[in-house]
């Protein structure tokens, strides 16, 4: 039996996912939350095997929530649920230290099998595509274009994150307080997010320039 906890700010989504998972005899939904704060409060007591986390939450984001949860509960497996593109979703899942991600495009079969796989300790991110995506990100960062403003420390951090380390483990490696690592990670996420937004803005502006 695999115990599952759902975190999504839409009740309709939690209900839909719960229905689907409950239809599988191997899976049991043990609790749910609509915010990161609720999730942090409830999950440690309920001890689920898998937490299914939406990337966007009203009081934070699923990536940071996942890192916090895994630092406190090293045995917890996380699955990110998102409706972004695969690239973005995979990157978010790697940065979160999650076992995998599922795109919200109604492929129920895939969602159920992902929960089962992650629940039994498999990583869905342990493949060449994920490695290639990380390598590409590192190359983008190393190319030091106008969009890549990562410090050496942040690059080191990115390496630890892609090795799947929790904030606590990274704190031990880097001789820092866990809180400091948390702040570093937040800043890194913001930078990477900003970078992608800037890229989009630059591109959109350039495209419009060509039309004029």
């Amino acid at each position: 039996m695999i115990g599952v906890f759902l975190v999504d700010d839409h009740e309709v989504v939690r209900r839909g996912v719960a229905h689907l998972l409950e239809a599988d005899p191997e899976l049991e939904v043990v609790g749910e939350a609509g915010t990161a704060a609720q999730a942090m409060a409830r999950i440690p007591a309920l001890r689920p095997d898998v937490a299914v986390l939406d990337v966007r939450l009203p009081d934070g984001n699923g990536v940071e929530l996942c890192r916090d949860l895994r630092s406190r509960l090293p045995g917890l497996h996380c699955l990110m649920l998102t409706s972004f593109t695969d690239e973005q979703a995979m990157l978010d899942a790697i940065l979160a230290g999650a076992g995998g991600y599922v795109i919200k495009d109604i492929d129920g079969v895939r969602l159920v099998s992902a929960v089962r796989d992650v629940g039994s300790g498999l990583s869905l991110l342990d493949n060449r595509a994920a490695a290639a995506l990380m390598a590409k990100l590192r190359a983008d960062v190393a190319a030091d274009g106008p969009l890549a403003g990562l410090s050496d420390r942040e690059r080191e951090l990115l390496g630890f994150i892609s090795d799947g380390l929790t904030n606590r483990q990274i704190a031990a490696r880097m001789n820092l307080a866990e809180k400091t690592v948390k702040n570093y990670v937040s800043r890194l996420l913001t930078k990477l997010g900003m970078q992608r937004r800037t890229q989009a803005a630059v591109l959109a502006t350039r495209l419009r320039g060509q039309r004029r």
Binding site: D8, H10, V12, V13, R15, G16, V17, H19, L20, A23, R56, S83, F84, T85, D86, E87, M90, I103, K104, D105, I106, D107, G108, R110, L111, N127, R128, A129, A130, A132, L133, K136, R196, R197, Q199, A200, A201, L203, A204, T205, L207, R208
Partner: protein, 337 residues
Amino acid sequence: MTEGEVLRLVVVRARELIGADHVLLALPERDELVVVAGAGRAEAAFDGRRFPVDGTIGGAAFRTGKPRRSVTPGPGLDEESGASLAVPLRLGDAVLGVLIALRDKGKPVFSADRVPLATGFAEQAALAVHTAREQVRRHELDLLNERDRIAGELHDHVIQRLFAVGLSLQTLGRSIEAPELRRRLTDCVEDLQEVVREIRGTIFDLHGDPAGATWLRRRLQQAIDELTDGTGVRAIVRMSGPLSVVPPELAAHAEAVVREAVGNTVRHAKARSVTVAVAVENELSIGVTDDGTGRSPESVHSGLAALAARAADAGGTLHVQASPEGGTSLLWSVPLP
């Protein structure tokens, strides 16, 4: 008042007060200057005229940021004009362009007392150009913010609800015994899937596509659309994994495989639907399955041989077999580097 109207007003008034036959405003474009406004008898002929920065009076004023007077304006303008006066469009330390006053050939040169007059007009023009540019920039930012907002709305509300409804329908479908009802429900879910994918595509368009991230995704989708549009064959497309990590040479193979396999289905299989599944994990795999007759003419075999060769070339495999629906099922897969 638009930028064009302001500039037009500046050159018309400048021509009267400076005592010139023509007054032109030119802005830089690469290493040339381009006339954007003009006043005078042959103003239409000057519109859009380009002249080099090097060796022209306008170019000299633009480059040095100082007024210039001369007996000829230089290449690009001196066919119809003689005496000329050029002053830079200055804004702080920057020079945005140049104002050029011209007299017809044979008329006296501009006296030094014309320079401050021309400078005053040039300042007004510089301000107009700057204001217009700021407006464009602000408008672009507003547009980007608005697009972000719409994308956020679509993501946060529309997709979530469609996703939830779809999941519930799927769960419902499993408890239904009647095969016909079950099939119809499955079709509904498939249709919902398509809607969600379209919206995700829209979100991506709104956010602006970070260079090439979905280039292959789009290429494949376009190829499938082209081949199936108007044929009565319904295409169901599923793509999973980060397609952006597929290297260019494999991407070229992928497109060829999709075109060949879907083309075969449309041309020969008498199929109602074709399912294309592209997945990127440890391998790039492409599955194309149809519900057609499963019979194929000789011509198809050479095409399949070419696909097998493409797979072998990249260290992968091609399998073709009968699909459960009686049609053909093709699976092409090659390892990622």
